[in-house]
């Protein structure tokens, strides 16, 4: 299996709320710091990738945030303009006024147009070797299969014409496991785990795109060994708690309660992790990112997660 960051195109997806953008931003940062020319692209229109780097807003035109690290936001209309000027040698959109006006319609009504303009732009960057790695902060797990199968769908739907020719090279890149991979961001909670398992299965059966890794975000620390947990139980007895409170000069009750909460949270999550491990192909890399007990989620958190991912890789 090709090492994760040695691929050319990584689609990071996952259930909403698991920290998909954190993982995408951190993978991009890590690759860039390893010397790879890296483009991080957010696909979601209202995405907040910029917040994860704290280096100014992103636009369709890629901008270098730091050496080797570029960022952009997908905009399908811009993508169409670029495509037209590159492929059809139609330089100015003004000359095809009606197309600009109908774009929104066609894109909303005709199947997969927005999807293919997105995937098309990303595979184009790979084909032209503009970057060593393109990391996509992709759509959520419910939509990723639709996005990845858009070229195939169009390929089947359109019998002749430019698009037909154009989708073949996209498929060649997407379906090549040495070039393209999907990274599922997950969390050790019930629904994200269920969705991860389901998506892994859908990717296998409905697409030819390779699942490259699953990153489990926000893994809570194991507080105690079994022996320590027994000691902890003993410490929670009223007499011991009272003795400690007196020695400290304050109520230790909330501290003990908080530890109990931490143990419980960790325990339910460990069960979900076990389910996840048991359901995935054992050869699939499973990376763990611990929960960050920090105040904010800005550039510092992104860097920290990148370091943790580097250890896991």
């Amino acid at each position: 299996m090709t090492a994760l960051l040695d691929r050319k195109l990584l689609f990071v997806t996952g259930k909403g709320g698991v920290g998909k953008t954190t993982i995408a931003a951190s993978l991009g940062l890590l690759a860039a710091e390893q010397g790879k020319r890296t483009l991080v692209c957010e696909v979601d229109a209202k995405g907040n990738l910029a917040d994860f780097y704290e280096a100014g807003p992103t636009a369709f035109k890629a901008r270098e945030l730091q050496p080797n690290l570029w960022a952009m936001s997908m905009n399908t209309e811009e993508s169409l303009k670029e495509y037209l000027s590159l492929q059809l040698k139609i330089p100015l959109l003004a000359k095809i006024g009606p197309l600009a006006r109908t774009f929104d319609f066609i894109a909303n009504a005709a199947p997969g147009v927005k999807e293919i303009l997105t995937v098309g732009k990303l595979t184009w960057e790979v084909r032209e070797h503009h970057y060593d790695l393109v990391v996509v902060d992709s759509v959520a797990s419910g939509h990723i299969v639709g996005q990845l199968t858009a070229p195939q769908g169009i390929n089947e739907l359109v019998q002749v014409g430019m698009v037909r020719n154009q989708t073949q090279w996209m498929l060649d890149i997407l379906n090549d496991p040495t070039k393209t991979g999907v990274v599922i961001a997950s969390a050790p909670e019930e629904m994200p785990v269920a969705e991860t398992i389901e998506l892994a299965e859908r990717l296998r059966t409905e697409t030819k795109v390779d699942l490259a890794a699953v990153v489990v975000n926000r893994v809570l620390p194991e507080l105690f060994t079994d022996r320590e947990e027994a000691l902890f139980e003993s410490l929670r007895s009223p007499s011991h708690a009272a003795a400690l409170s007196e020695a400290v000069g304050g109520d230790v009750g909330p501290v003990l309660d908080a530890a109990e909460l931490a143990v419980t949270l960790r325990r339910t999550r460990a069960e979900h992790l076990a389910t996840l491990r048991a359901s995935l192909d054992p050869r699939l890399p499973l990376l763990y990112v611990p929960y960050l007990f920090t105040r904010s989620h800005g550039a510092r958190a992104t860097r920290r997660v990148a370091e943790l991912l580097a250890d896991e890789l």
């Binding site: 014409g161 698009v163 501290v255 530890a259």
Partner: protein, 412 residues
Amino acid sequence: MAPAKPKSGKPKGGGSKGEGSKTDGSRVDADKARTLEQLLATKEIVISCGSGGVGKTTTAAAAAAMAATHLGGKVLVLTVDPARRLASALGLEQFGNVEVRVPVEAFEAAGVEPRGELWAAMLDTKRSWDDLIARHAPDEKTRKAILANSIYQNISGRFVQSHDYIAMERLYEIHSSGEYDLIVVDTPPTRNAIDFLEAPDRMGDFFNSKLLRWLTAPSKSRVMSLASKPFYTVADRILGSQFLEDIAEFFSLFQAMAPGFVERADAVTRTLADRRTTFLVVSTLEAAPLHEAEFFIDALDERKLHLGALVLNKVLPAYLRRTATTGVAKRLVVDADELAGVVPDVGDHDDVARVLATIGESFLNYQVVAKREAEQRAGLARSPEVVAAVPYFDADIHDLAGLLQLGDQIWR
């Protein structure tokens, strides 16, 4: 078909829900509702929304279960989430596009005697679209042609955006049937939470538009208008003519149904804005979902839609924020060795010291998160009258008892 005006006659018990509430007996205006109970007693449609992963579906199901239990009447939870867990939590093997009643045994097992009935349905996008076409198609031939059109199949089956409209459409249909006193619906996981709010309008615009007529022109007339010529020249080069023909066929078939669709979409839009409809915004206290919730609250306000309640899920307990305890936790970390001596009978001294330091540290860790959450909460610029916080639950919700337990947290 003319869009039915929202129901006039209601099943027995529907109009008197408010009087049955146990709070203070006084009539409560929904705009001044102070609890979810009061809010739901005065509404007929509750739309649960928020970003993915915040517990939207579970919250909707819990609210519906509480309403069926305590308010009475016929309550429907309409979900778009195909999670089997929700079906089994409701004591159902499975449920689909057609509403099924949650068995009374499920309530009995949860130890409650419901005053009303709880029903559940799951949105089947493809089925709902097909039904919609059947309703609007002028004749059998058109219906068959649309169902067979490749573009239609793609849009109705795979297409993300089509979920938004059909969810609101199905809600409208069920509501106007007059079958239920209260419908609680959770919204599809859209890329933008407001997509589904705009979906009916967009659908109306689409069929009203000159562009649609213009797009379908070539199939009707050999003379292409001057304006459309460059478009077809380009489109033909990009897409190929077969595809264009499929599109043209699709649009012209749809055009036959345009008036019905436009009318219907308008009616759906009106239902969202109706005073009997309210929105439940669900979030956790993490930055991203909360940001989305705020964005959504603003969008509701702009559209003059009724924001009924904000439900905050997975909130850490308040004791974690106590500053008095911060000092205690710090001392446990710093003086762990000395403090282990205070409880010599617990176990090995070093082990006990390590446990004391660990619990102190863990408290401080969680305190950081709890304070971050509190800051997020305080930072909410606008919040509705009803704000309910749901604590972290020890275990996942597996049955109706669990749903009702969650419901209890947000009910009063």
